[in-house]
Amino acid sequence: MKNKVSVAVFTLINFVLSLNLFAQQSVKQEVAMADQMRADGKIWVVVAVISTLFVGIIAFLVSMDRKVSKLEKQLKK
């Protein structure tokens, strides 16, 4: 009898303690979070930074290009 109770208590404690693990597992599997930027040693942050520089410089070049086109139009007149 005593043995049965201790087995039940042991099982219950194990079950409660392992709930935590179940929870973690399900989070990992089911809930999609935007962890990509923190994955792979945050290398994607570097990629984002370099892309920002590229986009910024290209945008600036486009604005300069427009200026030159305007100038060319004036010269033709």
Partner: protein
Amino acid sequence: MKNNWWKIVAVILLSYTIYFGLMGTVPRRAILNESIRNVYFHVPMWFAMIAMLSTSVFNAVRYLRSNDLSYDIKSVEFTNVAILLGILGCATGSIWATFTWGDPWPNDPKLNSVAISMLMYFAYLILRGSFEDEQRRARISAVYNILAFSVFIPLIFILPRLTDSLHPGNGGNPAFSDYDMDSQMRRVFYPAVIGWALLGTWIATLRVRIRRVSEIED
């Protein structure tokens, strides 16, 4: 070719930066992880911006000494490129901060100082737009430029050191050895600074030439 060698140097240095910035070895640090490589891309923006602003002030002083409008054109175009670099520096800094400091714009003295400086230089452009007379515009904006620069330098170099900042090398009296850099990183970082400064100069000189042509046209 004789006068364009520095443009080739700019391209070589920036290619070197991109290759070794991504492939080179970097110190392993918690939280920063691989994003420490942003030191090669985010920080040179500010160094190059300071180089552009110094050139701009130098030309503003030369204008005030000579009343030659060609110096005024150089002055404003170097400021324009400096503003571009400043905006890029803010944007890249925000991305980096989001994933390391947990906030795109933390309440950090360096960031707030930079925000004030950027506003000062936006005001410079607005000020220029409000004058009709060329000489008057050039004179007043040259004086404002000198004022803005002499506020900018204490704002970003001195004030953040008087308090605590998230940026390395701030708070206290740091030397460069306080940065999270080893000699391997310096070998990429310094060429990156020179490369970006040269690229900025290249863009600025292009804009100066465009403006010169448009003024002849007028």
